[in-house]
Amino acid sequence: MPSEQNKSREQKAAESEVESFRKELGPFVVAAETTRMAMVFTDAKEANHPLIFANDSFLSLAGYGRDEVLGQSFDFLMERPADPEARLKVDAAFAGSSENEFEICFRRKDGGMFWTAVFISPILDKMGDLVQHFVSFVDLSKHKEEEDRLRFLLGELNHRTQNTLATVQAIAVQTLRRAANKEVVDAFEGRILALSKAHSLLGRKHWETVSLRDVIDQILQPFGLDDRRVIRFSVKGDDVRLQPKAALTLAMVFHELATNAAKHGALSNEAAGKIDIAWQAEPTTQSDRIRLRWQESGGPTVKPPGRKGFGSRLIEGGLAQDLGGEVRLDYEPSGVVCQIIMPIRRESGR
């Protein structure tokens, strides 16, 4: 502690300010001093908002002694050089903006940075004049660490899911190889792989949203989507983001459509057939929806299948039940047409 005569004039002023503060607010000051939430009071009458009170939690968060911060401007606490955007936010909050809660980066005495959620609130005197600001800080370091940990665990879970799907594939193939024909085994393997690709894509996007275009690319890639020698696909549409469930179901649907096309439809003959996939996003009053059309052409003449298999059940049932969409699957002689209308959640801030 510096001796009495070493104290700066500002600090003495700040201390006398705190004294009068303590007298007026009594038990509240004790509460503010001992609470685990880091908080400071600043003097609103000075342009640089000097600190006139800092509680123990704040001092241990920022690593300063009390004498080192009282009388210092609020800027003193911020990272250097301060992010101009953060400066603007702080200035606006001190000037009375209703946007008075945000996350900013501060600087410890030892130079280390720390993120906190700050809350800046004006304090008025009996006359209704602005005299001070109350600023609280919620330390986000733990939160950020926890976020990193969760991200790591999610990554680990994603890999394990892939390994588990590989085991499921292996067990199924071993179990079925004597009992079922190759076509059945291949169909099963293909479906597990489509599911795995959708999982992998979602895993890379942290199970938030994925683009419809990416889902189509992943699923159709084994069917020759990227084949530069023979162009069999045309894929066109708006930038649409899908929720995980919609992405998984659509991935399986595209896999079934493409498998069917490879067996009986536009991908079953040499180079003549083509598949056009096009979609638009349509805003409606409640939510957005997409209208997608899968159109095959140039393949052998289409005959409707005798009974409904896994594919058409998934396409017609899965989309309607899982996603609240409407599906029309038409076996037109010139080529299969699948039309999908389904709601998508509207993106905020996009």
């Binding site: 892939q162 590989a166 499921v168 594939q169 292996a170 792989l193």
Partner: protein, 125 residues
């Protein structure tokens, strides 16, 4: 099946028994002779010393043991190899990310392409 690598001797390093069976069948269908399987790094290293092998298919993580020592020996000897990993390319040791890598699960066709790519890479130097 006749394939570009009929009768090639492929070392299989994988610790998950069902996946071993599946890969053994896939490799047999490609006409390859399977060496192994090895389910640990030490086992794999012993097999590389004892047996003639043309290429290897490697799981990247053997019961929490990284595959790196096996990869180093194979690289030194100029033996081509393919990674098979539930982690995809990100599960592969940093220095070997350019190597052909299979994201588990995969089908026989992808395995054949990866082995082909590994041989091509080795031939190119």
């Amino acid at each position: 099946m006749n394939s570009p690598f009929s009768d090639r001797r492929i070392l299989l390093v994988e610790d998950e028994i069902f996946v071993v069976w599946l890969l053994e069948d896939m490799l047999a269908d490609l006409g390859c002779a399977v060496v192994g399987p090895a389910s640990s790094v030490n086992q794999a290293l012993a097999m590389i010393d004892a047996e003639a092998i043309d290429a290897a298919v490697l799981d990247v993580n053997l019961n929490n043991e990284p595959i790196t020592p096996v990869v180093e020996v194979l690289t030194r000897r100029g033996v081509p190899f393919v990674f098979a990993s539930g982690y995809g390319r990100r599960g592969v040791p940093e220095a070997y990310r350019q190597n052909p890598t299979l994201q588990k699960p995969f089908q026989a066709e992808a395995l054949a392409q990866a082995i082909d790519a590994a041989f091509a890479k080795a031939a190119a130097g």
